[in-house]
C-alpha cells in the first residue's frame, strides 16, 4: 500500500480526499500548510503528492519547484489541485513539473481514478 501526501489549506478538501482515498485503501497524510512539507515528504516517501496552488506562506507552485529540484524526491508524481482554472495557470503548473493539473471544483471519484492510475503505473 502506498501513501499519498495531500497539502491544502482548506480543511474540508483534505477531509474529502482523505475519506475518498482511505476508502480505496490508500494511506493518506494531510498537511494544512506547505511550510515544512518537504521534510514530511522525505520522511513519508509517498507515492503521490496532491498540492493546492494558492496557499499562504509558500504557494503550491513554489513548493512544486522545490520538490522537483531535490533529487531524492523529484521522482514522486505531483497532482496540482487548484482553484486557478486558467489555461496559463495550467501551463505554468505543468511546466513546473506537475503530473496532473486538476481544477476545483473536482470530482473525488475522478481524482481517485487518477490517483489509482498513477499509483499502479509506478508500481514495479
Amino acid at each position: 500500500m502506498k501513501k499519498v501526501v495531500v497539502i491544502d489549506d482548506e480543511p474540508f478538501i483534505l477531509m474529502m480526499i482523505e475519506d475518498k482515498l482511505k476508502k480505496a485503501m490508500i494511506d493518506v497524510v494531510t498537511l494544512r500548510s506547505s511550510v515544512g512539507a518537504v521534510d514530511v515528504i522525505k520522511r513519508e516517501k509517498p507515492g503521490l503528492i496532491i498540492l493546492d496552488w494558492m496557499m499562504p506562506e509558500l504557494s503550491g507552485i513554489e513548493l512544486c519547484k522545490i520538490l522537483k529540484h531535490d533529487p531524492e524526491i523529484a521522482e514522486i508524481p505531483i497532482f496540482m489541485l487548484t482553484a486557478k482554472g486558467q489555461d496559463a495557470d495550467e501551463q505554468l503548473g505543468l511546466r513546473s513539473g506537475v503530473t496532473r493539473y486538476i481544477t476545483k471544483p473536482f470530482s473525488p471519484k475522478a481524482l481517485l481514478e487518477m490517483v489509482e492510475e498513477v499509483m499502479n503505473v509506478d508500481k514495479p
Binding site: 474529502m16 475519506d19 486557478k84 471544483p105 473525488p108
Partner: protein, 1083 residues
C-alpha cells in the same frame, strides 16, 4: 363454526327424531303385532308350534324391516335438510369470512347476497356497513398518511399524559421507535427543568383545553437536548377532553441563529458602548431604538423608545420644523451618509453644538430601515470658533470704521456709514445718532436707520437727562440692556414700549465733553458682551474724534484758508498712512514707513513707537530711523519717562528741553543724541493704553493746537491698528492651535515645543498609551515611549515626523504602538508644525491615530477581492465533491451529515460572495449619474500631483504633467480623477524606483486624448489579453496586492463618458494607456 353448529343441530335433531320415532314405533308395532297374534291365536289356536313360529318371528321381522328404513329415511332427511339450508349456510359463511377479513383489516368486501331471506338482508346490511367502514378507514388512512409523512414530529397523549401514538418523524428526530414510546409518560422525555415547564404548560393550559406554543428542550434517545417548539392542543371528544396532541418543530437551527444573533448583538453593543461619542439608532418614527452607554449617560438614562428630538433638543417636534435640517430625515430620504453640525439644547436649556454623522442601515433591497446617528459634542469647539469669529468680525468692523474715518471728512457720510457698519456688525435692527444742542439742552436725532421719519418726529427732541440717550449724554457712560422693556433702570422712556429690546447707547465724546449719543436697537433680545461694549466705546470715541476733527477741519478751513494746500497735503498723507494701516494686518512691515511718514510730516528728527505690555513696561515696536530691535525693553514700568507720564495722563505731553527735565528718565538708546524738544502722544483704545509714540527734535519745537489734534488722530489710528494687529495675531495663533487640537480630539495628541519637550497631551493619548498627562508633560517626546522595547520603531517614526514638522513640513508614518498594558495597535503618526505669525515653527502637534480597525478592514477587503476566484471555486469543490461522495455512498450517515453541513456552510459562503461581488458590480454598473462640469485639467492634475507626492517621493519617481492651461474636459470631475489616480497609481506601482511617468492631455480632432505612460515593468502579452477581465491579476499581481478591478473600473467610467481606453504595453519597456474622450460643450 356457524356451519358446524348448524350441522350439530341438524344431527342432534336427527338423533332425537330417530329415537323418538324409531323406538316408540318399534315398541308400538311389536306390541300391536304381538297383541294381534295373541288375539288371532286365541281365536285360532295354533295347530302346532310350526304355525306359531312365523307369527313369533313376524314382529321381529317387522321391526327389523321398519327400523333400518326409518333410520335411512331420517338420514336422507338430514342430508336434504342440510341441502335446503344451504343458502343460509352460504350467507353465514360469507358473513363469517367477511368479518374475518374485516378483522384482518381488508375492507374491500362485497359479499354476494345468496338468499332472499333475512340473512340476505343481513348480508346486504353487512355490505353497506363494510362500505361505510371502508370510506371511514380511507379517510383515517389519509389522515394517517399525512401524519406519517409529516416532517415535524408529533405525539398523541392520553388523559394521563401517556403517549398513545407518535409519527415516523418522531422516530427520525429523537431516535425512539414507536413501540418504545407507546404508553410511556411524556415527562420521561425531559430533564427536570423542562419537565417542569411542560408540566406547567399542561396544567395551566392544556388541562383547561387551551392550545399553546412554547419552547422546550427534549431529550433524544442519545441523551442530547434538542431545542424544540412544541405546539400542543387538546383533543376533544364531544365536550370531554380525551388527550393532547403535540407537534414539534425542530428549533435547533433557530436556536443557533438566535445564539448567533445574540452574539452579534453583544458584539455590536460592545462596539457601540466603546465609542466615546453618543450613538443612537433611530427608526422611521424617529424614536430611538438603541443607544450606547455614552448616549444614555448624556441623556440621563432612559432614552430607548423616546423620540430623538425629545432627547436631543428637548422638543416635542422633530427639529426640521424649526428650519433645521434633521440628519435622520435627510438620511431616510437620500439613503446616504450625512454629516452636519447641529445646534441642540442641553438639559438645562443651554446651547450645545453637536457634530452628527448619520448613516443608514439598509435592508437587502436598499431601503433604509434605521439610521445610526453618531453625535459628538463640539460645543467647546463651536464656542471657540464663534468667539474667534466674533472677534474677527469686530476687528473688521473697527478697521472699516477707521478706514471710513480716515478716508472721509464729510460728516454725513461718516455718520451714516458708521451707523450702517455698527448695525451690521452687531446684527441690530436699527439705530440713530443724537446730537446735543447745547443752547436748548436738548438732543436731536440727526441720523437714523431702521426707524421711520414719523417715529423720529414723534420722538422729537429729547431733553438732556431724560430717557436713555439723555441720561447717557449726561453721564457719559455706555449703557446697554438686553431687553429694554424689562429693564428696571429705565423708568420713563419713549422707546421703552416701542418693541425695541436689545438697546445700547454710546456717548460720542468730543474734545472735552459729550457731543452726542449713538443708539442701536434690536427687536430681539440681545446680550451685549464686554467686547462689544468695548468696541462700542471705541467707536463712540472715534466718532467723537472724527466729529471734532470735522469741526476743527471746518474751522481750520475758515481760519487757515491760505494754508489750504498744505493742509490738503497733510490730509492726503494721513489718508495714505491710514490706508496703509487699515489694510495691513501685519503692522511690522508698515510700521516703519508709517513712522517715517509721521517724522516727515512733523519734520521730527526721531520718532519711535513704544507699546505697553500688560505689566506696564514700554517696549520698542518700531522707530524711525531704525533704532534697536523690535521687542526691546525701553522703559521698565518702574522707570519714570515722558512716555509713561503721557500715557498716565492720557494726553499728549510736550517737553521743551528733555535734557533739563529731571523727572524724566531718557533711555540710553537716545540719551546721547542731544534731543531737545519731545512730544509723547499716548495711544488709547477706550480705557486701555496701547502705547505711546514720541517725536524728538534736536532743536526746540512748539506745537500748535491743530498739530496736537492731528497727532491725536494719528495716535488713535495707530492704536486701533496696533491693537487690531495684535488681536489678529493672537486670534490666528489661538485659532490655529485650537483647530489643530479640536479637529482630532478623538486621536492622541501630543503638542511639543521646539526643543522636543511635551507641552500637553490629550485624553485620547492617555488612553492609547496608558501614560498619564502629568507624567508625560515636560518629558522629551521620544523618551515617553521608552517603557517598552517594542516601541523602537514607533519612536523612530515619531522622531522622523517630528523632525519633518520642525522643518515646517508635514509627515505621516504608519507604525505600531505598544501601550503600557502591552496592547499593540497599528497607528498613524502625523506631525504638523505650529507656525507663529512670522512663519517660524513654534511647536509641533503630533497626532497619533489608532488605525488598527481601518487596517483590518482594508486588509480584509483586499483579501476578499484578491482571492475571489479562488474563493468561488473552493466552496464549489465542497459542494460538488461532497455531494458526489454522498451520492456515491462513500461515507456513512454521521459523516454524511458533517459533509452536508459543510456543503451547506460552503453554499452559504458562496452566496455571500456572490452578493458581495454584486455590490461591487453595482458600483461599477453605472447607475450613478455623472455630474458633468467643465473640468480644468491643469487644476485637476496639479491636485493629483499633490496627492501622489508621498508615493513619488518614496519611489523616487518623477511624474511629468503635460497640459496646457485652460484645457477643459467636460465630465464628472470625481470620476475622471478616479481614473487618472488609478492609472498613475498603476504606473507607479508596477515599476522600479526612479521611474518616470508622463501624463499628457492633448486636443485632437477626435476629442480630448489623455495619455498616461510609464517606463515600468510593462505587461506581458499574455496578461494584456486578460486585462479587461474582472478580478484578473497579472503576473505582477502576485507581487503587489490589488483587486483586479481597477482597470475594469476605469474602462467603465471612460465608457460612461462615451470614450474609449486603450492599453499598449511591452514587458520591460513600459505601458501606455490612452483615454479618448469625445469633445463636448457644457450646456
Amino acid at each position: 363454526m356457524a356451519k358446524t353448529r348448524i350441522i350439530y343441530k341438524h344431527i342432534v335433531i336427527f338423533l332425537v327424531f330417530a329415537s323418538l320415532i324409531v323406538v316408540p314405533l318399534t315398541f308400538t308395532v311389536v306390541k300391536q303385532v304381538n297383541k294381534m297374534i295373541a288375539e288371532e291365536e286365541s281365536v285360532h289356536p295354533p295347530e302346532n308350534a310350526d304355525y306359531t313360529q312365523p307369527h313369533r318371528e313376524f314382529s321381529d321381522k317387522l321391526v327389523g324391516q321398519l327400523v333400518p328404513f326409518v333410520f335411512y329415511i331420517l338420514v336422507l332427511a338430514l342430508m336434504l335438510s342440510i341441502l335446503f339450508s344451504r343458502g343460509m349456510l352460504i350467507s353465514l359463511k360469507g358473513l363469517l369470512r367477511g368479518s374475518k377479513l374485516m378483522k384482518e383489516g381488508n375492507l374491500d368486501i362485497r359479499l354476494p347476497v345468496v338468499s332472499d331471506d333475512e340473512l340476505g338482508e343481513v348480508t346486504r346490511a353487512f355490505n353497506e356497513m363494510a362500505a361505510a367502514l371502508r370510506e371511514k378507514t380511507l379517510e383515517l388512512k389519509r389522515k394517517d398518511t399525512y401524519v406519517n409523512v409529516m416532517v415535524d414530529p408529533l405525539w398523541v397523549v392520553d388523559g394521563e399524559n401517556r403517549i398513545t401514538d407518535v409519527n415516523p418523524a418522531f422516530t427520525r428526530m429523537f431516535g425512539y421507535t414507536r413501540e418504545e414510546v407507546m404508553g410511556a409518560s411524556l415527562y420521561d422525555f425531559f430533564d427536570e427543568k423542562n419537565a417542569a415547564v411542560i408540566r406547567r404548560q399542561i396544567e395551566e393550559k392544556r388541562e383547561r383545553g387551551i392550545s399553546s406554543i412554547y419552547e422546550i428542550n427534549m431529550l433524544s434517545r442519545d441523551g442530547i437536548q434538542i431545542p424544540l417548539l412544541i405546539s400542543g392542543s387538546p383533543i376533544f371528544e364531544g365536550d370531554k377532553m380525551v388527550g393532547k396532541i403535540g407537534i414539534f418543530k425542530d428549533f435547533r437551527e433557530q436556536q443557533e441563529l438566535r445564539n448567533e444573533l445574540q452574539r452579534e448583538k453583544e458584539y455590536v453593543e460592545t462596539i457601540m458602548d466603546s465609542i466615546e461619542d453618543q450613538l443612537f439608532v433611530i427608526d422611521k418614527e424617529y424614536s430611538i431604538i438603541r443607544a450606547n452607554k455614552v448616549a444614555m449617560m448624556e441623556a440621563g438614562g432612559h432614552v430607548i423608545g423616546r423620540f430623538c428630538h425629545a432627547v436631543a433638543h428637548h422638543m416635542d417636534k422633530p427639529c426640521w420644523t424649526g428650519g433645521h435640517e434633521c440628519p435622520a430625515q435627510t438620511v431616510f430620504i437620500t439613503g446616504k451618509n450625512y454629516r452636519t453640525t447641529h445646534q441642540h439644547a442641553g438639559p438645562a436649556g443651554e446651547r450645545r453644538f453637536h457634530e452628527i454623522v448619520a448613516s443608514p442601515i439598509k435592508d437587502s433591497s436598499g431601503n433604509v430601515l434605521h439610521v445610526i446617528e453618531l453625535i459628538r459634542d463640539v460645543t467647546e469647539r463651536m464656542k471657540h470658533e464663534e468667539e474667534i469669529f466674533n472677534k474677527n468680525r469686530e476687528l473688521v468692523a473697527l478697521n472699516s470704521i477707521a478706514g471710513i474715518l480716515s478716508k472721509s471728512l464729510r460728516a454725513d457720510e461718516i455718520f451714516t456709514k458708521i451707523l450702517d457698519r455698527m448695525i451690521e456688525m452687531l446684527r441690530m435692527d436699527g439705530g440713530g445718532i443724537f446730537f446735543i444742542d447745547d443752547a436748548k439742552r436738548e438732543m436731536v436725532c440727526q441720523y437714523h436707520r431702521g426707524i421711520s421719519e414719523e417715529f423720529v418726529k414723534m420722538m422729537g427732541r429729547i431733553r438732556l437727562g431724560e430717557d436713555v440717550p439723555g441720561r447717557v449724554a449726561v453721564t457719559g457712560q455706555v449703557m446697554t440692556t438686553s431687553d429694554l422693556s424689562k429693564d428696571q433702570r429705565i423708568e420713563r422712556s419713549f422707546v421703552k414700549h416701542s418693541g425695541m429690546k436689545g438697546y445700547c447707547c454710546i456717548p460720542v465724546r468730543g474734545k472735552e465733553r459729550v457731543i452726542g449719543v449713538f443708539c442701536l436697537f434690536s427687536f430681539r433680545t440681545h446680550y451685549f458682551t464686554s467686547e462689544e461694549e468695548n468696541i462700542l466705546t471705541s467707536v463712540g470715541e472715534m466718532t467723537g474724534i472724527a466729529l471734532e476733527n470735522i469741526k476743527l477741519y471746518e474751522k481750520m478751513r475758515e481760519l487757515y484758508e491760505y494754508q489750504r494746500s498744505r493742509r490738503e497735503e497733510e490730509q492726503a498723507q494721513i489718508l495714505s498712512l491710514s490706508t496703509r494701516l487699515g489694510s495691513a494686518i501685519e503692522l511690522k512691515d508698515v510700521m516703519g514707513p508709517v513712522l517715517e511718514l509721521i517724522r516727515n510730516i512733523f519734520s521730527a528728527d526721531f520718532v519711535w513707537l513704544l507699546v505697553r505690555d500688560q505689566e506696564g513696561n514700554f517696549i520698542l515696536r518700531s522707530a524711525s530711523p531704525e533704532n534697536g530691535k523690535e521687542g526691546k525693553l525701553i522703559y521698565a514700568n518702574t522707570v519714570s519717562s515722558i512716555e509713561g507720564y503721557s500715557a498716565e495722563r492720557r494726553v499728549p505731553t510736550v517737553v521743551g528741553d528733555i535734557r533739563v527735565e529731571a523727572k524724566f528718565y531718557l533711555a540710553s538708546d537716545i540719551g546721547n543724541s542731544q534731543f531737545q524738544s519731545v512730544i509723547a502722544v499716548p495711544m488709547h483704545i477706550g480705557e486701555k493704553t496701547v502705547g505711546v509714540y514720541s517725536l524728538y527734535y534736536l532743536g526746540t519745537r512748539e506745537f500748535k493746537e491743530d498739530e496736537l489734534h492731528f497727532l491725536k488722530i494719528i495716535a488713535n489710528i495707530l492704536a486701533v491698528s496696533i491693537e487690531r494687529s495684535d488681536f489678529y495675531l493672537k486670534a490666528i495663533t489661538e485659532k490655529g492651535l485650537s483647530d489643530t487640537i479640536l479637529q482630532s480630539v478623538a486621536d492622541g495628541i501630543i503638542t511639543v515645543d521646539v526643543n522636543g519637550r511635551i507641552i500637553s497631551v490629550n485624553k485620547a493619548f492617555e488612553k492609547m498609551t496608558g501614560v498619564t498627562a502629568t507624567a508625560a508633560v515636560g518629558m522629551p517626546i521620544c523618551d515617553v515611549f521608552r517603557y517598552s522595547d517594542d516601541n523602537i520603531d514607533f519612536r523612530f517614526s515619531l522622531g522622523e515626523c517630528f523632525d519633518a514638522a520642525l522643518n515646517g513640513g508635514r509627515m505621516s508614518r504608519e507604525t505600531f504602538l505598544t501601550s503600557v498594558f502591552q496592547s499593540r495597535n497599528a497607528v498613524l503618526i502625523s506631525a504638523t508644525p505650529v507656525l507663529d505669525a512670522g512663519g517660524g515653527v513654534s511647536g509641533v502637534v503630533n497626532l497619533v491615530r489608532d488605525i488598527s480597525r481601518e487596517k483590518e478592514i482594508d486588509r480584509m477587503k483586499t483579501e476578499i477581492i484578491r482571492s475571489v476566484s479562488h474563493e468561488f471555486r473552493t466552496p464549489l469543490s465542497a459542494i460538488v465533491g461532497m455531494t458526489e461522495m454522498i451520492l456515491e455512498e462513500d461515507i456513512d450517515g454521521k459523516r454524511a451529515k458533517k459533509y452536508l453541513r459543510t456543503i451547506l456552510s460552503e453554499g452559504i459562503r458562496l452566496s455571500n460572495m456572490v452578493s458581495d461581488l454584486l455590490s461591487i458590480a453595482r458600483i461599477e454598473s453605472g447607475k450613478e449619474i455623472l455630474k458633468m462640469v467643465n473640468v480644468d485639467m491643469k487644476e485637476l492634475l496639479s491636485g493629483l500631483s499633490r496627492s501622489f507626492s508621498p508615493l513619488v517621493e518614496k519611489k523616487k519617481a518623477e511624474i511629468k504633467y503635460d497640459v496646457d492651461a485652460g484645457r477643459y474636459v467636460v465630465g464628472d470631475e470625481e470620476k475622471i480623477k478616479q481614473v487618472l489616480t488609478n492609472l498613475i497609481g498603476n504606473s507607479l506601482m508596477f515599476s522600479d524606483e526612479g521611474c518616470r511617468v508622463h501624463v499628457s492631455v492633448t486636443d485632437t480632432e477626435g476629442g480630448i486624448v489623455i495619455t498616461v505612460s510609464d517606463n515600468g515593468w510593462g505587461i506581458s502579452e499574455e496578461d494584456l489579453s486578460h486585462l479587461p477581465e474582472r478580478f484578473y491579476r497579472g503576473r505582477h499581481g502576485q507581487r503587489i496586492k490589488g483587486t483586479g478591478l481597477g482597470l475594469s473600473l476605469c474602462r467603465e467610467i471612460v465608457k460612461m463618458h462615451g470614450g474609449s481606453m486603450e492599453i499598449r504595453s511591452k514587458p520591460g519597456a513600459g505601458t501606455e494607456v490612452v483615454l479618448s474622450l469625445p469633445r463636448r460643450e457644457m450646456k
